[in-house]
C-alpha cells in the first residue's frame, strides 16, 4: 500500500494484508474440489474456520465484524485455544456473505451487535478449532500408522511420544483436509485454557497507526467514480424536482441522478467535486405530513403516555399501584432521554458495481448478511449473482448493523451507471440528518416507602419509541417490544437486580416519524438512568445510604450485588472522599453481563462538572481478553458520558436540527475521567462486553452530582441545564 518501506513485524503485516485483502478480494471464489476446499492462495481448509498454509500460518475465519471492539482477536483466541496452534502464526480473514449463502451459513450469524460477537459464537467457534485439531492429529497418526489417541498436539506441533516423532500442522493440513470431520467433539474445561483469558495483543493494531488500514471510505477501484448524496431532510419526504442542468457542467461532474424516491446524487470524478456540485444543486422536496413535527410535539405525545391507561406490561408482581398509594411515603419523578445520533467517526459509505449479471458491494458493515440482503433487494438480482465484501469500519455503534440504507442507495446509483464502480460517501451533515437514532423515551417512576423506609411498591412507566416496531416488527410479542425493558426484565440477560414486593414495569408505546435504531447499549442507556437515579432518590427519601438501601433489595441477586460491592469497596464507599469529591453508584445487568460503577465528581460554580474517576466492575462470566475488556469499559464511558452531557438531536419542521460536531459535541481527552476497571468473571455463563458498561456511567455521575449539589437532574443532556463537563 502506501508505506511499503515501513518496518512491520511479521504477524501484523500478515494480518494487515489479510484485513485489506478480505476487502479487496474481488470475486473471491472458493473452488469446491472433490475432497479439499481451498483458500484463495490454494492452502487447504481443514474446516470452514481454519486454513493452514504450508509454512504453518493459521488463518482463522471470523464472521463477525471488527469495528474496534477487538472481536477478531477474541474469536481467534477461542479457535486457537482448541486448535492448539502457535498463536504467533495466527492471522484472520473474513468469509464473504456470498460464500456463506453457498455454504449453507457454515459460519453462522454475521451480525455484530448486541454485544454478541463472543458470547453467541463461542461454542461453535471453539468446536471448529477442536474439530480441526482432531483432524490434524488424525492425519499425522495415519501417516505414522499409529492410533490418534497416542498423539498429542501443542503449538502447531503434533507429537507421537512413544516413537518420538513430530510433525507440524502445515505438513499434515493437506491430508487432514481430506478426512471426515469428527462427529463428537469435546471442548476443554475452562480450567485448562491457556489462551482464553489471556490479554494477548490485538491482531490489528499496526496498520491503524501507519495509515495503511483501508476503511470503506478509502477504497479505490479502477475506473471508480464518487458520489455525494442528499436525502430529503424530513423523514418520509420525497424528491419533487431538481435542476440537474445547473450543475452538470461543473468540473468533474458525470451524472446527476435521483436515488429512490427521496434522494438525489451527484456522481463525479472525485468526491469533493461531487459534494461541491451537490451543494449548488437546486432541489425541491415534497416534505410530506411529517414536516409539522417538532421536539415539542413529540415531547407532548410522550408525556401523554406517562399516565395512559393502556401499556404493555413486562415485569410485574404483587399490586404496585395499591402498595404505593397505601405507603407511608410516596415518591414520584419523571425522567426523559433524547434522540441521539451514533456519529461514528467514519460517515456512512458503500461502494457498488452493478452489471446485469453481477452486483458487488464493498462496505464497512456490522452485518455482512444484512448488507447482502440489501444488495440483492436493491439490485433485483438473485443471491448467486451478488457479493458483498466487508471492509474495515470507522466505528459502528449500531448504525451499521440492522440498517443498510447507504448500501441500498449505492446499488441504486450503480444500477443507473452499469459497469462503473461508484463509491457513495455521506457528508457528516448527511450522516447527522439521516441517522437511526437512539429512541426517545420518558419515564414516570413512583415508589412507596413504609415507615421504616423499606421499599414496598415500585412502578416504572416507560413512554416512548419502540425500536422493534420500526425495524423488526416480527419480533414483537403481542405488540409488546421486550427490548424497551432492557435491564428491567424479570429474568434473562437483562434481569432486574432488585426484589420489590410490589412491582410494575410497563411501556406505553409512543412512536415517532424519526427512525429509531440500535445505539450502543440500546435501551439500557435510559433505563439505567431512570431506575438507578430513582433508586438513589428512594434511598435519600428513606434517609438511607444508597448502597445500603440497594443491598437490602439485592439479596436474591448475588451476581448483581457482587459487582456493586466490588466498586463500592474499590472506590472506598462509606469512607471520606478527597475534599470536594462526591460519589454516586449504579448497577445493571445487560447483554448477559453484570456491571456496576462508582463515579467520583467535583462540581465548581454549581455547573462545571469534573468526573474525576469512575470505578467499574463487570462480570461477563468468562473474560476472553481482559486488556481489551478494560478498553471497552473506558471507551463505553466516553460514548455514554458524551451522551449524558452533550448530545441531543432535536426536531424542527420534521427534520433533525444538529448537522455536525459543532452542535452535536463529543468528549475530548481533557474531559476523560480516570477509569479503573475490575474484570471479575465468575464463570459458567457468557456475557457481552461492548455495551453493558456504557449504561452505568451516566446514572453514577448523576447520583454523584446530586451528592455534590443536592440537585436532581432528570433529563438528558446536561447541557440543557447549563451544566458543562470540564
Amino acid at each position: 500500500m502506501l508505506t511499503k518501506n515501513v518496518k512491520l513485524d511479521r504477524r501484523s503485516f500478515i494480518v494487515g494484508t489479510a484485513a485489506v485483502g478480505a476487502g479487496l478480494a474481488v470475486g473471491l471464489k472458493i473452488p469446491f474440489g472433490p475432497t479439499v476446499v481451498r483458500a484463495q492462495d490454494g492452502s487447504p481448509e481443514v474446516n470452514a474456520w481454519v486454513v493452514i498454509r504450508p509454512d504453518d500460518t493459521v488463518v482463522i475465519r471470523v464472521a463477525r465484524s471488527e469495528m474496534g471492539q477487538g472481536t477478531i482477536t477474541g474469536l481467534a483466541q477461542m479457535v486457537a485455544e482448541e486448535l492448539e496452534c502457535d498463536w504467533s502464526k495466527v492471522t484472520t480473514e473474513y468469509p464473504t456473505p456470498g460464500q456463506s449463502v453457498k455454504r449453507k451459513r457454515v459460519w453462522g450469524d454475521f451480525s455484530t451487535g448486541g454485544s454478541r460477537g463472543i458470547r453467541q459464537s463461542q461454542e461453535y467457534v471453539r468446536k471448529g478449532g477442536a474439530a480441526a485439531r482432531m483432524m490434524l492429529v488424525q492425519a499425522a497418526a495415519e501417516g505414522w500408522g499409529v492410533p490418534a489417541s497416542e498423539c498429542t498436539a501443542a503449538n502447531s506441533v503434533i507429537t507421537h511420544k512413544q516413537s518420538g516423532r513430530t510433525t507440524t500442522y502445515g505438513k499434515v493440513a493437506e491430508a487432514a483436509a481430506k478426512l471426515t470431520p469428527p462427529s463428537e467433539i469435546t471442548l476443554k474445561d475452562p480450567k485448562e485454557w491457556k489462551l482464553i483469558g489471556k490479554s494477548v495483543k490485538r491482531l490489528d493494531t499496526l496498520p491503524k497507526v501507519t495509515g495503511e488500514q483501508v476503511y470503506g471510505s478509502d477504497l479505490k477501484l479502477p475506473g471508480m467514480l464518487n458520489a455525494a448524496i442528499k436525502d430529503c431532510p424530513v423523514f418520509g419526504g420525497k424528491v419533487k424536482s431538481f435542476e440537474a442542468a445547473k450543475v452538470s457542467g461543473l468540473p468533474g461532474v458525470r451524472h446527476v441522478l435521483q436515488v429512490g424516491d427521496s434522494a438525489v446524487t451527484v456522481v463525479a470524478d472525485t468526491w469533493w467535486q461531487a459534494k461541491k456540485a451537490l451543494d449548488q444543486l437546486p432541489i425541491v422536496w415534497d416534505e410530506g405530513p411529517n414536516a409539522s413535527v417538532s421536539s415539542a410535539t413529540i415531547d407532548a405525545m410522550l408525556k401523554g403516555g406517562l399516565d395512559a391507561e393502556q401499556a404493555f406490561v413486562r415485569n410485574q408482581n404483587g399490586d404496585a399501584k395499591a402498595a404505593i398509594s397505601g405507603a407511608a411515603k410516596k415518591i414520584e419523578a419523571v425522567y426523559a432521554y433524547p434522540f441521539q445520533n451514533h456519529a461514528p467517526m467514519e460517515p456512512m459509505n458503500a461502494t457498488a458495481k452493478y452489471t446485469a449479471d453481477f452486483c458487488e458491494v464493498w462496505v464497512p458493515t456490522q452485518n455482512g448478511e444484512a448488507a447482502f440482503a440489501a444488495t440483492t433487494a436493491a439490485s433485483g438480482l438473485p443471491p448467486e449473482k451478488c457479493e458483498v465484501y466487508k471492509i474495515n469500519l470507522g466505528g459502528g455503534f449500531g448504525r451499521r448493523g440492522a440498517f443498510h440504507d447507504y448500501v441500498t442507495q449505492a446499488v441504486q446509483i450503480a444500477k443507473q451507471i452499469p459497469g462503473t464502480p461508484v463509491k457513495l460517501l455521506w457528508s457528516r451533515e448527511e450522516d447527522m440528518l439521516h441517522g437511526r437514532y437512539h429512541p426517545v423515551m420518558q419515564a414516570k417512576l413512583s415508589g412507596g416507602l413504609d415507615a421504616a423506609g423499606n421499599l414496598v411498591g415500585l412502578h416504572c412507566r416507560l413512554s416512548g419509541q419502540s425500536i422493534l416496531t420500526a425495524v423488526f416488527p416480527q419480533f414483537l410479542q403481542d405488540g409488546r417490544d421486550n427490548l424497551a425493558f432492557q435491564g428491567l426484565d424479570p429474568t434473562g440477560d437483562f434481569a432486574f437486580g432488585y426484589t420489590v414486593p410490589n412491582l410494575l414495569i410497563d411501556h406505553a408505546m409512543r412512536n415517532t416519524h424519526v427512525p429509531p435504531g440500535f445505539w450502543r447499549g440500546v435501551n439500557i442507556n435510559q433505563n439505567a438512568i431512570f431506575m438507578e437515579c430513582f433508586m438513589d432518590e428512594l434511598a435519600h427519601a428513606a434517609g438511607q445510604d444508597p448502597l445500603a438501601f440497594r443491598r437490602k433489595l439485592m439479596a436474591k441477586h448475588p451476581k448483581h450485588l457482587a459487582v456493586l460491592n466490588a466498586v463500592a469497596d474499590r472506590a472506598g464507599w462509606g469512607k471520606p472522599a478527597p475534599k470536594g469529591v462526591h460519589r454516586g453508584l449504579a448497577q445493571m445487568m445487560a447483554f448477559g453481563s453484570y456491571v456496576a460503577a462508582c463515579a467520583e465528581v467535583s462540581v465548581s460554580g454549581g455547573n462545571k462538572v469534573k468526573v474525576q474517576r469512575i470505578v467499574c466492575a463487570t462480570d461477563p462470566g468468562y473474560a476472553v481478553n481482559p486488556a481489551q475488556i478494560e478498553r471497552q469499559i473506558a471507551g463505553s464511558f466516553v460514548y455514554g458520558l458524551s451522551a449524558l452531557f452533550m448530545e441531543e438531536c432535536t426536531v424542527k419542521d420534521g427534520h433533525i436540527e444538529q448537522t455536525n460536531f459543532n452542535t452535536y459535541d463529543s468528549m475530548r481527552i481533557a474531559q476523560m475521567p480516570k477509569v479503573e476497571s475490575i474484570v471479575m468473571p465468575s464463570g459458567g455463563f457468557w456475557g457481552g462486553v461492548g455495551e453493558p458498561t456504557i449504561c452505568v456511567a451516566a446514572p453514577a455521575v448523576l447520583n454523584a452530582y446530586f451528592a455534590a449539589t443536592g440537585k436532581r437532574i432528570r433529563t438528558v443532556p446536561l447541557k440543557n441545564h447549563g451544566i458543562t463537563m470540564v
Binding site: 508505506t3 501507519t210 472525485t270 470507522g394 466516553v638 475530548r668 481527552i669
Partner: protein, 149 residues
C-alpha cells in the same frame, strides 16, 4: 493546478485552488491515511503537519498549502522506522476502530516536537481530537510513554 510537497515529494494536483487540502491529499495524492470526519475542523481526523505545525486539513485550501512542507501519517515514519508516537501507540494498543488515530497521532507528534515532556495539562489543552470509540485513557498513557522514549 497546484504544486504540493507531500512527504518530501512534489506532486502536481489538478484541482480548484479552493479545494480543501484534505481532499487533494486523499483524492489526488492518493494518501488515504488522512481522514474525513467533519469537514469543519471540529474532529481532527484530517490532521497533517504544515511546516511542522498540526493543521486540520479539511479547512485549508490547497492554494494556502502551496510552498509549504506537508507531512501526512504516511510520511511520519523515517527510513522505514516508525515514529516514537506510532511505536507507543502499538505498545499501548491505543487504537480501537482506528479511524481517528492517524489524525490523533499527527497532533501528538506535533505536540511532542513543541513540548518533549508534556504535562497532562499540556495534553488536555493541545489534543482536542474526537475519538468516538473513546481511547483517551490509552492515548494519554501512550503520549507519556512516547515522551520518555
Amino acid at each position: 493546478m497546484a504544486r504540493l510537497t507531500i512527504n518530501g515529494k512534489t506532486t502536481e494536483v489538478n484541482v480548484d485552488p479552493n479545494t480543501p487540502l484534505l481532499w487533494a491529499i486523499r483524492e489526488q495524492a492518493g494518501l488515504t491515511g488522512t481522514k474525513y470526519g467533519c469537514g469543519i475542523a471540529q474532529c481532527g481526523a484530517c490532521t497533517v503537519h504544515l511546516d511542522g505545525a498540526a493543521t486540520r486539513s479539511c479547512i485549508v485550501p490547497v492554494a494556502a498549502a502551496e510552498g509549504k512542507k506537508i507531512t501526512t501519517i504516511e510520511g511520519l515514519a523515517t527510513n522505514g522506522v516508525l515514529h516514537k508516537v506510532q511505536k507507543a501507540w502499538v505498545e499501548h494498543e491505543v487504537p480501537q476502530c482506528g479511524y481517528c488515530q492517524t489524525g490523533m497521532i499527527m497532533a501528538v507528534a506535533a505536540l511532542l516536537k513543541d513540548k518533549p515532556k508534556p504535562t497532562d495539562a499540556d495534553i488536555d489543552k493541545t489534543i482536542t481530537n474526537i475519538c468516538r470509540c473513546g481511547t483517551f485513557q490509552q492515548v494519554r498513557q501512550a503520549i507519556h510513554a512516547a515522551a520518555k522514549a
